[in-house]
Symmetry: C2
Subunit: 343 residues, 2 copies
């Protein structure tokens, strides 16, 4: 027997066009037939075949999301925000996390040219140049997370890393520390670079000298935080405070401090960036910059929907900065009055 819309049409003794009109609320249909069709559809448990539908309408109601990896609390937050807005607008999300850059490119190509999605949210703190050329062709709406490629017609969303880092650093300065070091993030990472710039800027404006040795490179993971801390503390002239480019590295630093029997913040103060869940459990609680990750996911989805639904495209490069905020714990030297430290 016939299927889908045709079946309904046969049962109701109308044409498929009428059925389609009812199902999509397009064009006028007599109330009685509308009701009848709706009822039969209900009874048959009918759901329109989305492939046929997408083929015809040339849109899928699906947004592709490409993330670098799926390991972090960080990505979880972004997905959560994306999903939230997607749900609200009845969109589906196609998720892909690519381990290799090869995968990333392949997926992007598929998304851009394969008709699988209406638009793409790409999170890529570091952009392969082949990817850049792909992005320039710019076939479908695209929102970039955590990077600014300088390509017209593309929206990118970033934390205000510069400002956040600056504020955190200023806070350390206000405590009276003069010897402040930083454990940076990977050179290629856009966030990392901006955070470093913010740090520098704060020092400069306060006329605080920054010796080369006070800049140690990290990799955004626990281990590099550990070794970064160790390295700083083995300097002849030790820093009094450390700003770490992300919280993960702070975890390593705490561990290192413990094994060196250094107290935080009495011997060395610390501030981080991201405001991961764990930071709130540290003892002393971590002073850090809150990165609004869920908000980033939401904003990304909202932007992409705007582009898809309203065919809106930015004229030039268009960057949204999500403002960050300082979360004060005890690690910077502030009196830490919260009782959330389990450990």
């Amino acid at each position: 027997m016939s299927k889908g819309i045709v079946k309904i049409a046969e049962i109701c003794g109308v044409s498929i066009a009428t059925v389609s009109r009812v199902l999509n609320n397009s064009g006028p249909v007599k109330e009685s037939t509308r009701a009848r069709i709706l009822q039969i559809a209900q009874e048959l448990n009918y759901k329109p075949n989305s492939n046929a539908r997408s083929l015809s309408r040339r849109r899928t109601d699906t947004i592709g999301v490409i993330l670098p990896e799926l390991v972090d609390e960080f990505f979880m937050g972004v997905i959560q925000g994306i999903n939230e807005v997607a749900n609200r607008h009845q969109r589906y999300i196609m998720l892909s996390s690519s381990h290799s850059q090869r995968d990333e490119l392949e997926t992007m190509l598929e998304f851009m040219n394969g008709g699988r999605v209406d638009g793409v949210i790409l999170m890529a703190p570091a952009l392969h140049h082949t990817m850049k050329t792909i992005l320039k062709s710019n076939t479908r709406p695209l929102v970039l997370l955590n990077c600014r490629p300088g390509i017209p017609g593309i929206v990118s969303i970033n934390f205000d890393n510069f400002q956040g880092a600056k504020v955190a650093t200023e806070h350390l300065i206000q405590h009276g520390y003069q010897k402040i070091a930083m454990i940076t993030g990977p050179e290629i990472n856009n966030d990392a670079r901006e955070r470093f710039r913010g740090f520098q800027s704060a020092l400069k404006e306060n006329n605080i000298n920054l010796p080369e040795s006070f800049i140690v490179p990290g990799e955004f993971n626990i281990e590099s935080g550990y070794y970064g801390f160790m390295r700083l503390m083995s300097l002849p002239e030790k820093p009094r405070a450390i700003f770490a480019a992300n919280d993960m590295m702070v975890l390593g630093a705490y561990e290192a401090a413990k094994s060196l029997k250094l107290r935080i913040p009495e011997d060395v103060a610390i501030a981080g960036f991201d405001d991961i869940f764990l930071g709130r459990l540290l003892n002393p609680r971590l002073t850090t910059v809150h990165a609004p990750i869920v908000e980033m996911g939401r904003a990304a989805m909202q932007q992409i929907l705007k582009m898809v639904d309203e065919k809106w495209r930015p004229e030039e490069e268009y960057t949204i900065h999500l403002s960050t905020g300082l979360v004060i714990g005890g690690s910077c030297g502030c009196k830490n009055n919260n009782g959330n430290n389990f450990v």
Copy 2:
């Protein structure tokens, strides 16, 4: 001008059938034309339209994944495993996390009848009965995570909660503790029930009495762990050891212990379940049961692909148990020799 496969056909001066054959490696094609077609396709940056393709082949190479919420490290792990296998098999994953049960049902219906996916992985520790009726119609391959609905033809994958809980409890018993309490999980949660059963079983086999007051209900979150611990410690007869149904609750318990100035494990020993990242950072490090979450994701994807590709369906109810393992920290009373406690 014409598009897609037609365009290629025109340029190469062949029929679309030939192009299709080349692109899909179906049927024989002369080597020279094959090469030619492939080259043109390459030049045009051609990707087959997946909607047309799916419509025709009646498969989408996409697997739907429905999760209850997207907040936890737990879900992240599952997705990671799913994604890993999906990548390897060139499949796409459509992710949906539903906050309301209404959403969950709606999404399931769409996935099952809308032709958007080839199969569904559903994680639902508690199953709405409407969902059960939907599942019985059983239109597409389905893998259930963390629940066993007792419906034939459906695969479900679970941690070996019973065994894990039993082993953990036995470990506490081996330390010589006789007064052992448990903070349980939500009644409706399948994992929670099984873990409780394992706990009971261990006590019973060792002839240890379990007073009613030693069973306090929790909600799998930090707060309930906190209050559960408080409640147990305000009993006239306090437990010497506590088994918590998951690690999140342990976090609350640690906090409570701290505020009561009770030492772990000297005053009260603790064991948890899940082996979350955080547990390794606690001081003392948490003794817990490792739940192989990434493995669960992988297994789920593998099963669903088996069902999709080989049209395999289990005759009856079919449950896979992923074995758990005890991770020994210091919270149970063991000498904790690892140096990973940052805090």
